[in-house]
Symmetry: C2
Subunit: 363 residues, 2 copies
Amino acid sequence: MRSRLPQRASAWQKDGSMQWIAEVRQAVDGRLEKAFAARRAELEALAPDAAPVLDALEALTMRGGKRLRPAVLVAAQRAVDPHAEVADVIAACAALEVLQSYLLIHDDWMDGDRERRGGPAAHVLLQSALRTMDHPDASQHLADSLAILAGDLGAALATELLLESAALAKRGHETLAAFVRVQRDVVYGQAMDMLGSRDVSRMQRLKTGSYTVEGPLELGALLGNATDGQLAALRRYGKPLGEAFQIRDDLLGTFGDPATTGKPAGNDLRTGKRTSLVVELEASAPSAEREAVERVLGDRGATDGELRRAMEGLVELGVKRRVEARLATLVAEACHALDGAPLVLAGTALLRDLAHLIGSRES
Amino acid sequence: MRSRLPQRASAWQKDGSMQWIAEVRQAVDGRLEKAFAARRAELEALAPDAAPVLDALEALTMRGGKRLRPAVLVAAQRAVDPHAEVADVIAACAALEVLQSYLLIHDDWMDGDRERRGGPAAHVLLQSALRTMDHPDASQHLADSLAILAGDLGAALATELLLESAALAKRGHETLAAFVRVQRDVVYGQAMDMLGSRDVSRMQRLKTGSYTVEGPLELGALLGNATDGQLAALRRYGKPLGEAFQIRDDLLGTFGDPATTGKPAGNDLRTGKRTSLVVELEASAPSAEREAVERVLGDRGATDGELRRAMEGLVELGVKRRVEARLATLVAEACHALDGAPLVLAGTALLRDLAHLIGSRES
């Protein structure tokens, strides 16, 4: 496949996403379909009885929509290499998506989240699968175990896909080391989250920023054989943008539309997540005024009315507005880091697109 | 470190193990200590609150004793390269041990095994740790989640160590692909086991043989830059030996001494594992005579007396003897595969040592 990416990002689609991102998504989806078809054939020969594990990994992966991380990787590659070809990094893009499936599957089980991407989480899906196949043991523990294995399979398959990247030939060792570092960061971030670390911004950077923005940028840059100066510029761009992604995630997790986020309304309030909204609330509002929010925090049985009142409280206290202002500042910082950077112009246009998309995404 | 391995294996230690294996063990332990010290420093800077996860991974890894898989890797390297240096593959040896920790941590949680290597399994250890640190949530789910994360960290760290191998420079891509294939095989094997697949020999080959014998052999061969003929010879040696390892494991899991195996007596009977003893029993004994064994199979509350009678039953029915004979045949087959193979003589001596050790090990 030859790259057909536009040299300048301009074309917007009806649904508000950019044309080039839609093209990356299509290419990644195609590569993922090919990868799973090959693994399906391999499984049939090797271990047909283990099919439910591959099924769950594939279902969750193919249900994913945005393919944002691949777009970040492609933009970084283009920003460092004027002759960049999407075909050379498409397997690495697919690797990022399978890596994400692995992380989501394990996290959903840990966090007790039953929905993901508008469908059942892997451990929920696998319990249905056990029932459908009339398995004598339809216990949740067996379903949970199979979900952990589906994640583990994803970890292996992600590295396998990265190894299939044509562009790996240039700086394979560094690229693999970066890929593994991302995994380590996410594990540490998730452990901090599970243990209730008060160091929320560090936790979020490790847990989400690393594999959403900074990791894909570094991988794209290494696959595009970046100079040290280019890598440094992309890091200056990526650090605020990773934080921006997390803040947008927090806003969506509390105020997002379930129809587009694929998660229940007010989900983060119910689960008691220490979002940037909660941190801002505690820092800025007197304790008497926080009551409507704090009542529902972590209460999985909170009513829709209670959740609505908590959301209204966050708006009225100006918490939502201040968090949104912080988000806008971070997006501006990311774009500012591109000014005068030693990057390829066509690529910086894509990076600017991404910064605005990350700051305004609805899902 | 320069290699000080003997050119021919001959020196036996007081405890029955070979001198060269003890030397590999010592080198691997040193490399693991160094690796964990580096990760400890990194954690302090990056995510100090996530310490319990690294603690658990380190505790389980350093409690391991035999370092059998590194010995297999070193023997394979020596069998293909007359100038083999242990120093060039020692990080890969450490990677195998950390990979094993990852797999054991996840498996122990899935299988509900509370003891490992004569100490608590990771999910048990982590629950104690939460109590010791007076964590507000001392639930088993939190401890289980942290154990899954400790395993995930092990997966990342194992690849990281492999990337640190000096010998990787030669055929890094193939070596990494083999390392990932081992992980995929083990996941499929464990999924088959959890789902109760009747295809026991295939399940065992994937679940255990792959990462115990065949994987380490392939890694050692690739790191030693083997020819295709050498790789093929090592596969002919490894296939029966992997099965032999599993059979010895089954014998130890049922008849082994808890003091040396680190697992409770008759553990496999209690957990209802479909060992080669159970398969042989079903194939050879009339159903009336199987009663003493079948009564305790999968009964975690079986008394010591019942377990003893089941073991006696397996002896009296000749099941143990026939399984031991099969083991001896497989070990002989493995050694036979070395005759006239295009391998370095000093290495084949080590491989023969390993075949006999694997067939007769007590832990």
